[in-house]
Structures are given as structure tokens and as C-alpha cells.
């Protein structure tokens, strides 16, 4: 099996910075003493932050979304990355795609701002069991949230009126 540092470098060379960051994080979780990997992780984070700043200035929305998603786990940059991601997605995507993107991001990363925003656009997502599960997941992060709860109840009711959706492919 490829050592994490080699796998991370290969991912960076392929331009898959988010995957590289994930490899580094899991590598450091296995071996926190790996100095080389820690240095590579720090350098990659610096590059991602600089890239995010540049892309925000250039209003390159697809790139902002990609880079910001990678930074959502970074303690220092997570809040601004979440804001950038939501801002870029809202500016560049229609409502339904915006909601779908937040759902996809929330599958990989967890950030309060993403959960809040996803809660707001839950009704834009297709009526499927997966959406309902996501609604329940949002409520574990935002317990008792009125809007999410009301949208979730509505989704459940709509799903019940379309029982085929329970077994059919997701929209």
C-alpha cells in the first residue's frame, strides 16, 4: 500500500487538493508523529487558503466552492470557507442545485453554517428517503429548529402521498 505522503503528493500532482488533504488528515490520525506529512499538510493548507482568497477576489465561483469545501475542516479557516462556499454557491447556482450542493458537501464535511444553510433550503431538495434522512441529520446539529422541523414534516407527508418514492430511484 502507498504511504500516505506519496499518496498525498500524487493527489496534489493530479490537482485533487481536497483528496490530498483528506489523505494527510487520515495519515496524521494514524501517525501524529509523521513530521513530513504534517509539513506537507501545513503547506497544502496555506496554498488552499491563498487560493481561496485569490478565487474570491476573482469571483471564480466553481473554484471557490471546490477549495472552500476542502477547508471546512480547518479550524482557522472553516468559518470563512463556509461563508465563501455558501456565497459562491448562492451566487452561481439555481436554488435546487444550491440545495443539492450543500447536501453533497454536508455528506463529507460538517460545519454549523452549512447545516444552518441546508436547513433553510431543505424544501428545495427532492422528496426522497435520503432527503428525509438528511433532514433528521440536520436536526441532530440544530435540535428543535422550527423551520427544519416543519420542512421535514412536510417532506414526510409528501413522501407518504407518493409511496413509490420509497422504493424507486432517487430524484
Amino acid at each position: 500500500m502507498q504511504p500516505p505522503i506519496a499518496a498525498a503528493r500524487a493527489a496534489i500532482q493530479d490537482g485533487e487538493l481536497e483528496r490530498a488533504l483528506d489523505i494527510i488528515r487520515s495519515g496524521l490520525a494514524d501517525d501524529p508523529e509523521d513530521e513530513q506529512l504534517a509539513l506537507l499538510g501545513a503547506a497544502l493548507l496555506r496554498r488552499l487558503k491563498a487560493t481561496l482568497r485569490r478565487k474570491v477576489r476573482e469571483r471564480d465561483y466553481p473554484e471557490i466552492i471546490a477549495v472552500a469545501a476542502a477547508l471546512l475542516d480547518d479550524e482557522e479557516a472553516a468559518d470563512s470557507a463556509a461563508e465563501a462556499l455558501i456565497g459562491a454557491a448562492r451566487a452561481s447556482l439555481p436554488a435546487k442545485e444550491f440545495a443539492a450542493l450543500l447536501m453533497a458537501v454536508s455528506d463529507r464535511r460538517s460545519h454549523p453554517r452549512i447545516w444552518k444553510e441546508l436547513g433553510r433550503v431543505l424544501h428545495e431538495l427532492p422528496v426522497t428517503p435520503r432527503t428525509i434522512e438528511k433532514g433528521f441529520e440536520i436536526l441532530t446539529h440544530l435540535p428543535g429548529n422550527d423551520a427544519v422541523l416543519s420542512d421535514l414534516a412536510d417532506l414526510v407527508m409528501r413522501l407518504r402521498t407518493r409511496p413509490e418514492a420509497l422504493d424507486g430511484p432517487e430524484e
Binding site: V56, R57, E58, R59, I132, F136, L139, T140, P143, G144, N145, D146, L149, L152, A153, V156, M157, L159, R160
Partner: protein, 378 residues
């Protein structure tokens, strides 16, 4: 709470209340909620009512959260939402769109709490204030380049004006068309250098002030205007000092139409700023314009009446030179200063239309440049 059993919700609320102490913090509450969810999942729910049971748990959690957060219950929240819908500009029920007729007492009360940003002209005032502060920063930036920065800030333009002044003095040491040569030179030099320096400030998009554009409210045009303002203030100051000196030496007198002179001097500055803005726009797309502009500026300097009045020139040459609107502005400036001279060649109509067209073109360039890829800012 459609399709959710209220009895189940009430039972779950009771159960959670028992598990929680009066002052349970969020961490403890979240843990209790997690346990309730897990226990319900472990108890297993038939497929038909799984969502109903899970929703009941969430409604119960909401009850508990409302108790802890002090938020109003659904009915009260509903009332609050209704009230908000009247003042929310995005709402269909927004009532503040039209001005409400207030009685005098209420009007006075509202007046005292009015947001200054709502005051007419506040935006323009703020922008002027921003440009002025950017100018102060530009001065500090330039002056901090070396030890004698502040001295050089004035000395450099002073030398420039003086050098240009000597040209008409060489041509005619006493008078040019009855105008005192020294004052004639100062007026011409200040007009030209103000135009040229404001043009360069705007053309290079702000120079040392570029970094200030990191602040979201600061726009490129503010930075360009601040750099151009630098030219206006410095050359106006230097010109005033030199005129003062000349008056002390009894070589000059004050303008006979100061308002007219100030108007044409300002117009000359706006002309430089607008022209610089247009060139800046071209530079973004075609960097080679810089060289052409450098050459064009030299031609313009000769054609702008620094050392002469167009009335002195042969008809064939003046008819060509008078295509240059700057020459018209300089001649009007001199007419406003000197009692002895009233320009017969310069045309106010030509200046008006040319200036309007240039200002309009500069504004269009700014609007287009703000959308140009690479120039777009957050």
C-alpha cells in the same frame, strides 16, 4: 404536527425533562437527545410509522429546546412572525414601502433614531470622505519613501513648475500678449502638470493605493480619484505659493475672475482624471498603449499652450492645435486670471461637448472594467 401522535410527543418530553436537570447546558441536552434517538432506533419502529416516531422525538426535542432557550411557543412565534412580515422588506405584507404619515411627535421621535445612512447625500459624502482619506494615505506613502519625503513632496513639483515657467520667460522676459510672463508661465505649468499627474495617477490604477482595494467599500475609481486628487492639491498649493512669491516681488496679481479660474482648473483636473481612466481601461486590454500614450503626452504638452497663447500662432498651426481641448481650457483659465487677455480662439461649446463625452466615456470604461475578468472584486 401533522401525523405525529401528540401523546407520544408528550411522553417523550416528560422523559427528557426527567433526564435533564434545570440548568442543563447544551452539551448535556444534546447527549440526552442523542440517547433518546438511539433508544427509539434500537426499540425498532415498523416501517409505516418510523418517520412519525422519529418526528415525534424531534418535536419533543423542540419543546425542550424552547423551554431552555426561552423562545416563545409555536403560537407566540407565529404572532411574532406575522408582525415581522410587516417590516420585512422581502415579505409580501411589507408595509413600510410607502412613507407612513406620522404625527409630529412620532416624526420627531423617528427623526432622532434615523440611520445617518438614510440621510440624503450621505453616500456621496462618505465617498468624498473615503477619497480624502485615501489621498492622506497616498501622501503618507509617498512621503515615507525617504528621509526628506515631505520636503520632496513639494520641492519636486515646485522645481517642475519653475522649470516650465522659465520657458515663457526665455521667449519674452516681460509680457506675452500683455500678460506678465512669470504668471503666464505658472498658470500654464500648473494646468499642464495637474492634468498630466492626475492622468498618470488614474492611468496606473492607483499605484501605492492598490492595496487599499482589499477593503470592500473601496472601489478602483476611489483609488484613482485619490491619486488624481493628490495632483490637484499639490499643484494648486505649489501654484498658489509661487503666485504669492511673485506678488511679493510685484510680478503678479490675483485673478480678476477667481470663480471662473477655479472652474477651469477643476475642469482641467477632471479632464486628466477622465482621460487617465480611459487609458487605464485600454491598458488592461492592450499594455502596449502605455508607449503610444507616452509619445502622445509629449505631443499634447506642446499643443497645450504652456508657453504661448493660440492667438500668437500662425493661423495654419493654431487651427490644428485648437483641436486639443486642453488648449481651450488653458486659454479660458488664463482669460479668467488676466484682465489684459480674453481668448478669441477657444470655444466653450467645444470644451463642453468634448468634456462631457470624455467623462461619459470614462464612466463607461469604469463600469465595463469592474466586470472585466481579473478585475472583479468580492
Amino acid at each position: 404536527m401533522a401525523s405525529v401522535d401528540p401523546a407520544l410527543v408528550a411522553a417523550l418530553v416528560e422523559r427528557m425533562r426527567r433526564a435533564l436537570q434545570a440548568a442543563a447546558d447544551a452539551e448535556i441536552r444534546f447527549e440526552v437527545y442523542r440517547r433518546v434517538r438511539v433508544q427509539l432506533a434500537q426499540a425498532g419502529y415498523g416501517r409505516d410509522d418510523e418517520y412519525a416516531i422519529r418526528l415525534a422525538a424531534e418535536y419533543a426535542i423542540r419543546e425542550i429546546e424552547h423551554e431552555y432557550s426561552g423562545e416563545p411557543n409555536e403560537e407566540e412565534a407565529g404572532i411574532a412572525r406575522t408582525v415581522w412580515s410587516f417590516v420585512d422588506p422581502m415579505s409580501d405584507h411589507y408595509v413600510l414601502g410607502d412613507r407612513i404619515a406620522l404625527d409630529p411627535v412620532a416624526a420627531r421621535l423617528f427623526e432622532s433614531t434615523r440611520d445617518p445612512a438614510q440621510e440624503p447625500g450621505y453616500g456621496i459624502l462618505m465617498r468624498f470622505n473615503m477619497i480624502f482619506n485615501l489621498w492622506l494615505r497616498a501622501i503618507n506613502h509617498e512621503a515615507s519613501m525617504d528621509r526628506i519625503g515631505y520636503v520632496w513632496l513639494v520641492a519636486d513639483p515646485f522645481i517642475h513648475v519653475l522649470l516650465i515657467c522659465f520657458m515663457p520667460l526665455f521667449v519674452n522676459p516681460r509680457n506675452i500678449m500683455d500678460m506678465p510672463s512669470f504668471t503666464f508661465g505658472i498658470v500654464g505649468a500648473c494646468f499642464w502638470l495637474t492634468f498630466r499627474t492626475s492622468l498618470l495617477g488614474a492611468m496606473f490604477g492607483g499605484g501605492g493605493l492598490q492595496s487599499q482595494m482589499e477593503h470592500p467599500p473601496v472601489r478602483q475609481i476611489d483609488v484613482m480619484a485619490a491619486r488624481a486628487l493628490n495632483a490637484l492639491i499639490i499643484y494648486a498649493t505649489v501654484g498658489a505659493c509661487m503666485i504669492g512669491l511673485a506678488m511679493w516681488l510685484e510680478l503678479a496679481y490675483l485673478p480678476h475672475d477667481p470663480v471662473g479660474f477655479a472652474f477651469f482648473y477643476l475642469l482641467n483636473w477632471i479632464f486628466g482624471l477622465s482621460y487617465g481612466t480611459v487609458i487605464h481601461s485600454l491598458l488592461i486590454r492592450y499594455p502596449g498603449v502605455r508607449r503610444i500614450n507616452g509619445f502622445f503626452m509629449r505631443v499634447l504638452a506642446i499643443m497645450s499652450g504652456l508657453f504661448y497663447a493660440s492667438e500668437q500662432l500662425p493661423q495654419e498651426i493654431s487651427s490644428i492645435f485648437l483641436y486639443n481641448p486642453l488648449l481651450h481650457i488653458v486659454q479660458f483659465g488664463r482669460s479668467a486670471w488676466f484682465r489684459e487677455y480674453t481668448t478669441t480662439d477657444a470655444s466653450l461649446t467645444y470644451v463642453f461637448f468634448f468634456s462631457s463625452a470624455l467623462i461619459l466615456l470614462a464612466l463607461v470604461c469604469r463600469v465595463i472594467d469592474d466586470r472585466w475578468p481579473g478585475q472583479v472584486r468580492p
